[in-house]
């Protein structure tokens, strides 16, 4: 999960980010976002602000080069195509808006990251979202990788929820005002499957059991995610936000088909609380952002084969684990910012072991649509230290919209 501990050669991963199909992206605009969410531009290089065509289309390129050293040994440099994203969005009627995000990682065949319809016809501030989409958990999980403040998703999120957490199902979202300065938002979603993807530790290619959810299930076997968050004015130009999230998977199996092994009837739950504080100077350009999330996972949190060569059983870890990350980020104008993030988490495979990551990064927005980031990640996992330095380049083309929410 952390940094590969075997020598790897990588210099530049290129994330061809998002082709946004969403003609109405500009009419719709981005969701009202809050500090700590990425704020992707809505119209990138090569496109006008016109929303005459429908659907709108966009592309994002996110590329990086990195070098890694593990416990003092130089593992070398590499370049990779991380993600190519293709993104479409459109109003399908005045009360319904749809978007699709296709992503290709490392040049592989594109996969469907998100395909969802947001329906607002129920009045008030209600939104019903149906389809496949990144779940509303904390402030980082809705983002695609290129939208994060850091190169990778924060450690405890990767460890407990996965690199990305898309669910197929339905989500109800609403907000109300508590007084004049405190909007409170909540959402609850039920999903056919909510097992994270991309949770990987480098363990030399050891075969692992796969987590799967039964095809047909009772209603109480549906996974769900719920979130409640409130933000309020803090001082003349500041904002404070608190949130709490939960993801529950009530029924899943670990299977290893090669040996016909399975452990059935498993479940686990992840809880999270998050806090964010942001402020700016009188010009609105110098911005300070401080935040963090604390996470806990409980239940059947991992599975492993008893023997990698001739497995006879899947051992399930029935335990709990915790993790957190905190960060501070300062932008001294529209184009330059720097930040630091510290994350630590128990490993789900063995909660008596833990891992940590310290990220230092400097972001230079060349334009509204083009970003260069230099960063260093110092990691430790199960007693093995590693250092990774990287340069990341991200460019948005065309109209861009993801269904982010505060």
């Amino acid at each position: 999960m952390l940094l590969p501990s075997v020598p790897v050669l990588r210099v530049a991963r290129t994330t061809l980010g998002a082709l946004v199909v969403g003609g109405a992206a500009l009419a719709q605009g981005p969701a009202f976002d809050s500090p700590g969410l990425s704020k992707p531009p809505r119209a990138g290089d090569g496109f006008t602000l016109s929303n005459d065509f429908n659907p709108a289309i966009g592309v994002v390129i996110d590329a990086f080069a990195d070098g890694i050293a593990t416990d003092g040994a130089d593992d070398g440099f590499d370049a990779e195509l991380r993600v190519l994203e293709l993104n479409f969005s459109a109003h399908i009627d005045p009360e319904a808006w749809a978007y699709v995000v296709l992503a290709s990682e490392n040049g592989e065949n594109p996969r469907l990251d998100e395909a969802a319809v947001e329906y607002t016809g129920m009045g008030g501030n209600q939104v019903l979202k149906v389809g496949r989409f990144f779940v509303d958990f904390g402030k980082q999980m809705q983002n695609h990788l290129e939208g994060l403040r850091t190169l990778e998703r924060p450690l405890p999120l990767r460890e407990f929820l996965g690199e990305e957490l898309a669910g197929t199902g339905v989500q109800y979202d609403n907000w109300f005002a508590a007084g004049d300065a405190t909007p409170v938002r909540f959402s609850i979603g039920a999903f056919a499957s909510l097992l994270g993807e991309g949770h990987e530790h480098d363990d030399g290619g050891t075969p692992e059991p796969a987590g799967v959810v039964p095809d047909r299930k009772d209603i109480d076997e549906l996974s769900f995610v719920a979130r409640i968050t409130a933000m309020t004015d803090a001082g003349e130009r500041g904002l404070a936000q608190l949130g709490a999230s939960v993801r529950h998977v009530p029924a899943f199996d670990f299977t290893f088909d090669d040996a016909g092994l399975a452990q059935r009837g498993l479940s686990n739950t992840v809880f999270g609380v998050d806090a964010t504080w942001a402020t700016s100077d009188a010009t609105g350009l110098k911005r300070t952002l401080i935040g963090g999330e604390f996470l806990a996972i409980d239940g059947d949190i991992a599975g492993a084969l008893d023997d990698p060569v001739t497995p006879t059983a899947i051992d399930v870890v029935d335990d709990s684990a915790t993790g957190f990350f905190v960060f501070g980020d300062y932008a001294w104008d529209r184009y330059h910012s720097a930040g630091v993030q510290y994350a630590a988490a128990d490993l789900t495979e063995d909660p008596s072991l833990d891992a940590s990551e310290l990220d230092l990064y400097y972001t230079h927005n060349l334009t509204e649509f083009r970003r260069l980031r230099f960063g260093v990640t110092v990691g430790e996992e199960g007693g093995v230290d590693s250092t990774r330095a990287y340069v990341q380049f991200t460019n948005y083309f065309g109209n861009h919209f993801h269904g982010l929410n505060w």
Binding site: L26, A27, Q28, G29, P30, A31, F32, D33, S34, P35, P41, R42, G44, D45, G46, F47, T48, L49, T120, G124, N125, N174, W175, F176, A177, D180, A181, T182, P183, V184, F186, I188, D220, L222, F224, A226, I228, M231, T232, D233, R237, G238, L239, H248, A278, S280, A282, T283, G284, L285, R287, D333, R334, Y335, L366, T367, E368, F369, R370, W406
Partner: protein, 307 residues
Amino acid sequence: MKHLLLLAGLLFVHTETAGAHGADSQLRVVATIPDIADIVRTIGGEHVDVTSIAAGTMNIHAVPLKPSMLIAVNRADLFVQMGFALEHAYVPGMLAKARNPKIRAGQPGFVDCSQGWEPFDVPESLSRSGGTDLHPLGNPHFNLDPRGGAHIAAKVLEGLVRVDPGNEAEYRAAYDAFLGRIDTAAKRWKELGEAMRGKRVVTYHSELAYFLRYYGIELFGTLEPKPGVPPTPKNLGMLISRMTTENVRVVLTSPWSNNKSVRFVQDKANATIVEVPTMVGGVPGADSWIEMMDVLHESVARALADG
């Protein structure tokens, strides 16, 4: 799961009742910039309760939003924006999220002040090969044209009358009085303006383009190579050498752009830096639209007289 559904149900009930109270008689108006807010206050008087999203010292293209703004927009009877994509970075998203059907574009409660204003500097193409262009529909800073206040006032009057026809007579009287005050002020401004004709200035962003054109002042150059593109060493070098060769000494900056690039030009081109208001409240004494324009005229006139 059952408990969560119950919680969602309770929250839903709360939401449905939240909007029921607070039915005071004042119209709730949200303006994107303080210039519009001032004019709404002037015309609406005691009938309006006005909130401005941006503060006068900010870069209007990059306004940080506060949670209270979402609620203000959600409850607003009237929403007034400048238009020409000036607010494109935050208004569409906020309107979508605030879910107030009264102030959606095209509804009676939505006012776009750019309607009927002839913009200039409309880009011929938007290839964006040189980066972003924050003025894709032409220069949106017409609040700084000496005629801008009257234009905004006319749009505000239309909006107020649409959503509150009962007080039309009062709104019209206040509007007429405002135009009278602008006429009086315009005589002062004209006198200062005549002395500025034909002079040359440099600005950071092209916020003052309407103002300069109105008085025949030449915009010699901008520190930004394009609206929204930060100054590059190459662009600054060329600008400084042109300023030195042609003896242009006055650089006008707004409060948000008074940064190290400005001071670099000050040092290298031996220039005079003048911070001028680009929105109401941007500098001390610029507390209303007319006062802001007074400060702007006086500051520019003084700098050009010295320069």
